[in-house]
Each structure stands twice: as C-alpha cells, then as structure tokens.
C-alpha cells in the first residue's frame, strides 16, 4: 500500500545493486580508524612507559 510513501520517507533516489556497489567510503573510514588506533597505540608508549615509574607490583 504505502510503498510510495516508504520511498519518499526513505529518500531513496536510485536503486544500487550488488555489482554496482563499491564501498569506497567504508574503506576510507576504516583506514582512518586504523591510522587513529595505530597512532594511539604508539602514543600509549609515551604516556605509560616514559612518563611514569614502574607500575607492576
């Protein structure tokens, strides 16, 4: 009944099938995430090991 209202509500302007879809945006975001995580990992070394004395009891 309301497939029309659904389309406008969802704002879909084109159908993209499996083969035309290339998730480059996802790739870009995930690469950024890895860079951040890797950076934090390196940062941790400075915060924890160079900043403080021995922690292990």
């Amino acid at each position: 009944m309301s497939s029309e209202t659904e389309t406008t509500e969802d704002g879909i302007v084109r159908e993209i099938g499996h083969d035309e879809f290339d998730p480059v945006g996802t790739l870009a975001l995930i690469l950024i995430y890895f860079v951040i995580i890797g950076g934090l990992w390196a940062f941790m070394y400075f915060v924890e090991f160079l900043g403080n004395g021995p922690t292990v009891v």
Binding site: F21, P23, G25, T26
Partner: protein, 583 residues
C-alpha cells in the same frame, strides 16, 4: 502485512513486558549511577554512607548488566524469532513461564540487595553487598544466588522455546535456509548455554550450599574462575542482540540493504566458537593461574577482534549503500546523505562510534602485560561504560524508538526529543568515559566509595585530578538527564494524545548478497557448537584442574572429597548431554 503488535498480540505482550522490566532496571540502575558519580567524586556524598556505597554499586551493576540488558534481549529475540519465522510461539504458556521465572528471580535477588540498606528489623540479616561479580569470600544471602539461578534458568527455557519454534518451522519448510534473525538468535543462545554453565555450576554447587552453611568455605579462585568463564561471554550476550540491530535495522533505516548475509552469519559463528575460551583475560593478575593459561586466553581474545572488525565493515558498508541510494556521493560526502534526523539511526551510529573508540581501551585491557597498568582502576570502568554502557545501552534506547511502534502499534511521541536524548547520552559519556580512563591512568581505583588517601597524590599525565572528578560528575549528570528524557519519552508515547497508528508495512529489505551465497556448512550449528566445546575444554580443563589440585581442593580446604564425588560426575555428564542434545 500487519504491524507485529496486531498480528501476534500474545507474543507482543511478552515482548512489551520484557522491555518494561528492562526499563525498570535501567531506571533503578541509572539512579544508582547518579548517586555513585556524585558520591565518589565528592560532589554530594551525604546522601549515603560509604558503607552503603557498595549496596548502591551492587544494585547498579546487577540492574544494568544483568537485568536491563538481558530483559531487553529476551524481548527483542522473541520478536526476532516470531517475526522472522512468521509463526506464533509454539506454546504461549511456556513463553510466559520463562518471562515469569526471570521476573521472580530478579525480585528474589533485588530484595536481598535492597536489604543492604536496612540495618535493623526483620530484613537486617538479609544483604548481598557482593557486587555483580559476587567473588567469594564476599558472601550474600542465599536468596541472592537462588534468584540469579532462577533468572538464568528462565533464560534457558526461553532459548528452548525459540529452538522449538525453529524445529517446528523447519519441519514445515525443510528446504529453506534458516532466516538470518533466527540464525542470530540460535547461535547466541547456544553461546549462552555454554557460557552460563560456568556461573550455574559456581552458584548451584558452591555458593548456595556455602551461603546456607552446608560448606564452611569455598575455593574462591575456583568460583571466581567459573564466574569469568561466564563473565566474558556474557558481554557478547549483551552485544549480539545489538549486532542484530546493527545488521538488520540500521541498513533499513539508512535506506539500504545489508551488505552481506553470509558475512553476518560468519560473525555470529565466530562469536559462538570464540566467546567462552577467553574468560581468563579478566584474571591476568590473579595469582594461582599459570602464565601460560593466561597467554592462551589472550591469544583467543585477539582472535575475537576479528568478528567485531568484520561487523564494522559490514555495517558501515550497508549504511553506505543506503546513503548512495539516497543520492550520496564521494569518499565522505555520502555521510551527509544519511538520515541523521531519525533518533534510532543517529543513536545507533553514535553508539557504534563509541564502540570503535572503546576498541582502543579494549586492546589495552586485553594485553597481558599492559593490563597491569590499568587493572582495577577507573580506566576499566571508563572502558565498559563506553562498551556495554553506550554501545549496548544507547543502541537499545535508540532501537526502542524504531521498535516501540512495532510492539505497541502506535508511533513514538517525538523524533526531536529522541534526537536530543541520544545526543545528550553521547556527550555525557564522552565526558565521563574519557575522564574515567584518564583518572584510571593516574591510579584512581574502581569500586571505591572515597578514593582519597593521605599518602597518595594522584598524578595524571596532564591536568589536575580535580578537573577529572568534575568531568566524571558532569558526565554522570548529563547521562542521568538523558535517561530522564528517555523515560519521559516512553511515558509520553504511551499517553500520546494523537494516538497515531504505527506505519505499515515494515518489512526488512533483502540483503545485497543473500543467504544463497553462504556455504551450507555455516548453518551447521551442531558442528560449530562442538568446536566451541572442544576449544573450551582445551582452554579450561588444565587451569581448573590446577586450581583444584594446587589451590586447596574444591572447597578451599574442607570437604573436597564430597564435592569431588558429587560435582565432577555432574559436570562431565552435563557436558555430555549438552553435546548430544544441541541443535
């Protein structure tokens, strides 16, 4: 097609009831959370005494991570099973029975916890200030453990109920693939059966007899290890329904389709196989467990990153698909084409983002050596408020905006209010979570009513500790405000004057890459369960054996023989039965 509430009124009643219970727990837990943040930061510590702080904290932990999350899960899963199989509960009385048992169990435990506030009168001996981990030798009233047992048995029956639906469906549709949502429910429940066995054994065979005075002591390392046997996988019990929302609801909200059904199945199989044999990573600093076993647990933990990374990829790609169908362009421009005005979508996205951030502190926790730096500090509390406290809790609240119309048949009150609520939670948690992490690095302990000591000056990497305290308190207040908005919304929706009917239909679009692409073996849950059992045996038999033989027997020092005769056969036959019966 009808709205779920009208098509399956009996099932919808149970779903609503379960959600109602979940939200009562959330309200209680939230109030306790507010008291805690203000108390332990020193902003308002005259409401409760330091001794009562541990009663408050027990209530917070139990209400949030056992009751709120699991009640929501059973409600959501009941919907998932009924809706995806398109059939009523096989016997609604059983469905009501397990819900009733869960309520009864919760009430039993709650009474004992609340007893902790009462120091005189008939309730004075009744208390359970043991925190949600109930490590022996902290001892609770027997009713506390019994309540937990009844609650867990309720969830077991729920799982059985859902398996029954599937068996019946399969008989009528022998050639069809298991629907994705059913697959997710069943793999999650199998994981849960394996995991909760640990805590059930600990509670039924050790803690209940001990609290009743039948045993003088228990082997506290043993019960603790059995707790974490359950305690790690329970985080996936919270997370897997949320992953289901992310896989099933988010692509729909974004205007797209799930990127890959097979990938989603693989993720759930990986969780089934890998969740349990990692629990020892919570015990890196426990003496009495050899380093080698800890190393094994760490290795398994690192493998467990894989399904979460796969999820990140699949979910983001599905959303991107939606954005592109809505006209989005470019490497990042598509982000603006997403439906940010929908609180369900925005809330779940923010929850996912917070989860990604918490992935970093999780990596720190998981490393055997670096764990020593943060163990038992507020860092850990910061970590799990971003994971279960946000990735799970915020997703649940956000999904409720989408879910409620399905199970009540009426539209929610206001999208704007929903949006304000999810944004506020996000901001509040950034403040509280970030400051807790930093305070933990400065050495502030967790589970401490008044973390100030004459001899200790906390030394943060940057800034004064007072500022961190302020951020923790402010964040906690914003979170509480967000909860108030959430509950106001629920109330307003149920009294909505307009009584707008929920939109129909609301089918879930087919995945881009459907189940026909998935190898048949993925649906062989018997195989995956067997592999999980083997892995569990490999990781746990030796440490448990050494805890019992080197650590003073089954009960610490006394009565070892009785239980060895009684418990050992029971454990091994339960495992046999389980392997035999599964699937």
């Amino acid at each position: 097609m009808e709205v779920f509430a009208n098509e399956y009124p009996d099932e919808a009643w149970v779903v609503r009831a379960a959600l109602g219970s979940a939200f009562v727990a959330l309200a209680i837990g939230g109030l306790m959370g507010l008291i805690q943040t203000l108390h332990r930061t020193g902003f308002y510590d005259s409401l409760i005494s330091n001794a009562d702080y541990y009663t408050v904290l027990t209530l917070h932990g139990v209400a949030m991570v056992l009751l709120f999350t699991i009640f929501f899960l059973v409600g959501f899963f009941q919907w998932a099973i009924t809706d995806s199989l398109g059939r009523k509960s096989e016997d609604i009385r059983i469905t009501k029975l397990w819900y009733g048992m869960m309520v009864l169990g919760s009430a039993m435990s709650a009474v004992t916890i609340l007893g902790g506030f009462v120091d005189s009168g008939s309730l004075s001996g009744v208390e359970a200030d043991v925190l949600y981990t109930f490590y022996a030798p902290l001892e609770a009233h027997p009713l506390y453990y019994m309540g937990l047992a009844v609650f867990i048995i309720g969830t077991w029956i729920a799982g059985f109920d859902w398996f029954r639906s599937w068996w019946a469906w399969k008989k009528e549709n022998p050639d069809e693939r298991m629907p994705l949502r059913t697959f997710m429910v069943l793999t999650t429940m199998l994981m849960w059966y394996l995991a909760s066995l640990g805590v059930a054994i600990s509670v039924v065979f050790f803690l209940i007899p001990w609290s009743l005075g039948i045993f003088d002591s228990v082997n506290s390392l043993l019960t603790r290890t059995l707790f974490w046997f359950f305690g790690h996988p329970v985080v996936y019990f919270w997370l897997m329904p949320v992953y289901m929302m992310w896989y099933v609801i988010m692509p729909k909200l974004a205007g797209g389709r799930l990127f890959s059904d097979p990938l989603a199945r693989i993720v759930f199989v990986l969780f089934l196989v890998l969740s349990v044999p990692t629990g020892i990573h919570h015990q890196y600093v426990d003496p009495g467990i050899a380093e080698g076993f800890k190393f094994l647990a760490m290795t398994n933990t690192m493998f467990l990153l894989l399904p979460s990374l796969l999820t990140a990829f699949t979910v983001v790609a599905s959303i991107e698909h939606g954005a592109r169908q809505r006209g989005g362009e470019g490497y990042f421009g598509w982000l603006t084409a997403l439906p940010w005005g929908k609180p369900a979508f925005t809330g779940m996205t923010l929850a996912g983002l917070m989860f990604a951030a918490a992935g970093f502190s999780g990596m720190i926790n998981a490393g055997m050596s670096i764990n020593y730096l943060v163990h038992n500090t507020l860092w850990v509390v910061g970590h799990f408020h971003m994971t279960v406290g946000t990735a799970v809790a915020l997703s649940i609240m956000a999904a409720t905006y989408w879910f409620l119309p399905k199970i009540t048949g009426r539209e929610i009150f206001s999208r704007r209010l929903g949006l304000a609520q999810v944004l506020l939670w996000f901001i509040g948690m950034v403040l509280m979570g970030n400051a807790m992490h930093r305070a933990g690095l400065a050495g502030v302990p967790r589970r401490t009513a008044d973390p100030t000591y004459d001899q200790v000056i906390y030394d943060g990497a940057y800034g004064a500790i007072g500022e961190l305290r302020f951020q923790i308190a402010l964040g906690g207040v914003l979170l509480s405000l967000s909860l108030v908005l959430f509950f106001a919304h629920l109330v307003l929706s149920s009294f909505d004057i307009g009584e707008r009917a929920a939109a129909t239909p609301d089918s879930i679009p087919a995945p881009l890459s459907g189940p026909e692409q998935a190898p048949k073996v993925l649906d062989n849950i018997r195989l995956w369960t067997s592999i999980a059992v083997v892995l569990i045996l490999i990781t746990y038999i030796l440490p448990l054996a050494s805890i019992v033989t080197d650590g003073g027997g089954w009960l610490g020092d006394s009565y070892g023989v009785i239980v060895a005769e009684y418990v050992l056969p029971a454990v091994s036959s339960t495992i046999d039965i389980f392997v035999g019966v599964v699937a």
